[in-house]
C-alpha cells in the first residue's frame, strides 16, 4: 500500500515534469523556460527522494543535495545569460 502510494507520487511527479517540459518547449520567453527547467530539477529532487524510499537505500541522498545545488547554479547562470548574454563577467564594472 505504502509502496503503491509512493509509486503514485512518482507518477505525479512525472506528470508535473511532463507539464514543465511543455513549458520548456513552448516558452514563450527565455525566463519561462529557465523557470521550468529549474522546477524540473526541483521535482527530480523529490523523485529521487521517493525512489530512495522505494529502494530503501541511502545511496542517493547526496544526489539530492547536489541536484539542489546544481538547479540553483543553473538558474543563476540562466538568468545571467538572459539578462546580460554573459555568464562570467570580465570585471566588476559591467
Amino acid at each position: 500500500m505504502k509502496e503503491t502510494i509512493l509509486l503514485l507520487a512518482l507518477v505525479f511527479f512525472m506528470v508535473a515534469i511532463a507539464l514543465l517540459l511543455y513549458r520548456v518547449i513552448v516558452g514563450p520567453s527565455m525566463p519561462d523556460r529557465a523557470i521550468a527547467l529549474d522546477t524540473i530539477g526541483v521535482n527530480l529532487i523529490s523523485a529521487i527522494a521517493i525512489v530512495s524510499i522505494v529502494l530503501s537505500t541511502k545511496a542517493f541522498l547526496e544526489a539530492i543535495l547536489i541536484l539542489g545545488i546544481l538547479a540553483f547554479i543553473g538558474t543563476i547562470a540562466f538568468s545571467k545569460y538572459i539578462e546580460r548574454g554573459v555568464i562570467v563577467d570580465r570585471n566588476g564594472d559591467s
Binding site: L7, L10, V11, F13, M14, V15, I17, A18, L21, V24, I25, G27, M30, R33, A34, L37, I40, G41, L44, A47, I48, V51, L55, T57, A59, F60, E62, A63, I66, L67, L70, I73, G74, A77, F78, Y81, G85, V86, I87, V88
Partner: protein, 801 residues
Amino acid sequence: MTIEIAIILIPFIMAALIPLFNRRLQKSFIGWVVLVIPVSLFLILTTYIPRIAKGETFSHTYWWIPSFNINFTTYLDGLSLIFSLLITGVGSLVILYSIFYLSIKESLHHFYCYLLLFMGAMLGVVFSDNLMVLYAFWELTSVSSFLLIAFWHHRKASRAGARKSMTITVSGGVAMLVGFLMLYAMSGTLSIREIIGNVDEISEQTLFIPALVLVLLGAFTKSAQFPFHIWLPDAMEAPTPVSAYLHSATMVKAGIYLVARFTPVFGGEVVWFWAVTGVGLLTLFWGAFNAVRQSDLKAILAFSTVSQLGLIMSLLGLGSVAVHLGYSTSSVIYTQATFAALFHLINHSTFKGALFMMVGIVDHEIGTRDIRRLGGLMSILPFTFTIALIGCFSMAGLPPFNGFLSKEMFFAATVSITNLDIFSIASIGILVPVIAWIASVFTFIYCAIIVSKTFLGKIKPDILEKNPHEAPVGMLISPFILIGLVIAIFFFPNTLGAYILKPAMSSVYPTFPATAEMTPHIYAWHGFKPELFMTIGVILVGLLLYRYMKHWIKIYRLFPQKWTLNAIYERVITSSENISESITNRYMNGNLMHYFIYIYVSFVVIVAGTFLTLEAFSWTPSLDAPVENYELLLVFIMIFASCALIFAKSRITAVLLNGVLGYAIAFFFVIFRAPDLALTQLVVESVTTALYLICFKYLAELKPEKTSKRVKLSNGIISILVGSTVTLIGLAVINYEKFESISVYFEDSYKLAGGKNIVNTILGDFRAFDTMLEVVVLLIAGLGIYTLIKLKAAKKGDADT
C-alpha cells in the same frame, strides 16, 4: 667477395663516390675516371669467355633476406655473358663518346652518376638468379633511365618523356613482379634455375598462364613492344649517348633477356609462342612503318629500335617452339630462330649504337636533327657519313655487314616455321614471313631516308652559314669501333657463334644436349634459298617505294591523329585524371553532412546487413525486468523531449531540452542503482549546459535549416535506420546470456581493495589505469581549450610550417 658481385657493385660504388668527390674532381676529368670502370669490367668479363664457352657457369649466393628467400645469387652463364659484355662494351664506348659530346657546362657528375647507376643495375639484372633481386635491379634500370631521360629537366619534353617511360616500364615491372610471385607460389623457390628445374610441376598449375602473361608484360614494356613502345620515341629527349646506350643497346634489351631467360620455363606454351612471336612481329612492322614518316633523325632511330626489338622478340617466339617440341634432331632446326635472335641482338647493338652516335654528331655539329632541314652533309661530315652508310646498310640487311647475316637467318626462321603443324601455325603461320618481309621493306626505306635526306642532295644554305665541320676525333672513335665490329662480324661470324652465342643457346635450351647442332655455321652465302629471294625482293621493292614515296606517303594520313597510340595514352591519362577529379570532388566536397551520410549509410549497410544476413536477431521480452508506470512516463518524457530537440527553433530551447534529457538520464541512473553515475551525470550535465551558454556569447542563434524536404526526409530515414540498427542489435544482445560477467570478482572489493563502494574501487583500483588516463584527457582538453583561445592565427608572415 667474388668477381661477379664485384662487377655489379663497382658501378654502384663509383656512382656513390661521384657526388661525394664532385667538388674535388675537375670537370673535364670526370668522364675519363668513369670510363675506367666499364672498360675494366669489360676486360674482366672477356676473361670469362673461354671458360663459359666450355660450358662452365658461375654462381654465388650472398645472404640478403634469407628469411624470405631473397638473396643475392649471381649466376653467370652464356646468356648473362652476352648481355654483360654488351653492357660494359657499349657502355665504355658511350662514355668515351660522351666525354666529347657533353659540354663541360652540363652537370656531368649527375650524368655519370646516373649512367653508372644504370650500368650496375643492368649488370644486376642479367646476373641475378633470384627473382626478387632481379626485379629490384629491373626497377632500378627504369629509375636510372628516368633520371637520364630527364637529364635536361628544364625542358618540358624531357620531363614528359621521362614520366612516360617511368610509368610504363615500372607498371610492366609491377606486373612482372606479380608474375614472379606466382612463380614463387607455384615452385616455392625464387631461384630461376630451380624454377627451370621444376618446370614440369609448375606448368600444370592454374597460375602458370597468368604468371606467363605477367612476366611477358614486364618484358614487353621494357623492350618497347607494341603497344607499349610509345615511351621509347619520347625517351629520345635524353642526351644522345643515353639513347645509344640505354634506349637501343642495353636497357630495352632487358625484356629480350627476360624472354630468353624464361623460355625454358614458358617456352612450351602456345600462349607464349603466339604472344612473343605475334607481338614481336607486330612491333617489327609497326616500328618500321612509323619510322618512315618521322622527320627527326632520332625519332626514326627510335622507331627503328622499336622495330628491331620486335624482330628479336619474334625470333625468340619462333625459337620457343623447340622447347615445346622437346629435343629431337628434327626440332633442333627451330632453335635457330633463337640463335638468330641472339645474333641480331649483338648486331643491332653495334650498328644502332653507331647510328645514334652519328645522329649525335650531326646534332652536335649542325644543331638540328630535322631531316627537312638537313641534306648534303656528305661533303662536310665525310666520316660521319661513312658511319651512317655502313650502319644503315647493316640495318637494312645488306651485305657485307652483320645485319645481312642475321636478317637472312630471320627470314629463314620465319619461312621454316610455316612447316609446323602445331599451335594452329598451319592456318595463320604464313602471315609470319609475310609480315616480316613487309616490315623489312619499310626498314629498307627508312634506312634510305636516313642516308639520303641527311647526307645526299644539296646543302641547305642556313646550315652553311654556321660553317659546320667534322666532329672531333674523340667523338668518332666510338662509332668507328662499332662500325668496325659491324664489318668484322660479317666476316667472322662463327667466332662469335662459337664463343658467345653457343653458350647462350644452352642457357635458353638447358634440356637440349650441348653437343647438338644448336650453333649452326653462319654462311654469308648459302645458296638460292627463299630468304635470299626475300632479301632481293626487299631491296627492289624498297628502292621502288622510296623512289615513289611522294605518292603513297598519304596512307599515313589514314591514321587519324586522334587515334594514335600516343594520343590514346594521353587521353587515358588525362581522362582518368579528370574523371578521378570530378568523382573525388563530388563526394569529397567538404560538406560534413555528406560525410556523415556516407559514414552512417556504411554503418547501416555493413552492420545491419551482417546482422540480418546472419540472422542474429532474437528477442525474449519475458526475461526483462518489470517496468513501473512512472518509468514508462519518464521514457515518454524523454522521447518527447528528444523529438522536440529536433524542432527547437532557438538554441536555448535546444540546450535546455538537452539538459532535460541529461537530468532524465541521471534519474534513470538512480532507478538503475547507480549512485556515482547519477551524481556525476548531474554535475557534468549542468556544467556542460553552462558551457553551452558561455560559448553562445560567441555563436549565432539557430537559423531554420535551409535543407530541402527531400534531404530532410532522407536524413530522417538514415537516422531511423541507424537508431533501429542499434535497437535491434541491443535487443539481441540483452538476451545473450552465455557468460558470467567478470564484475562478480569486484564484489569482493572490500577484501581485495579495501573499498566498499564497488564502482569507486573499480575506478580507483581495479581499473585505475583508465582513470589515470581519463584525467590526462581532461588535462589535454583544458590545456587545449586554453591554447585554442590564446593562440590565434598571426596576421601576416606567419612563418610556421
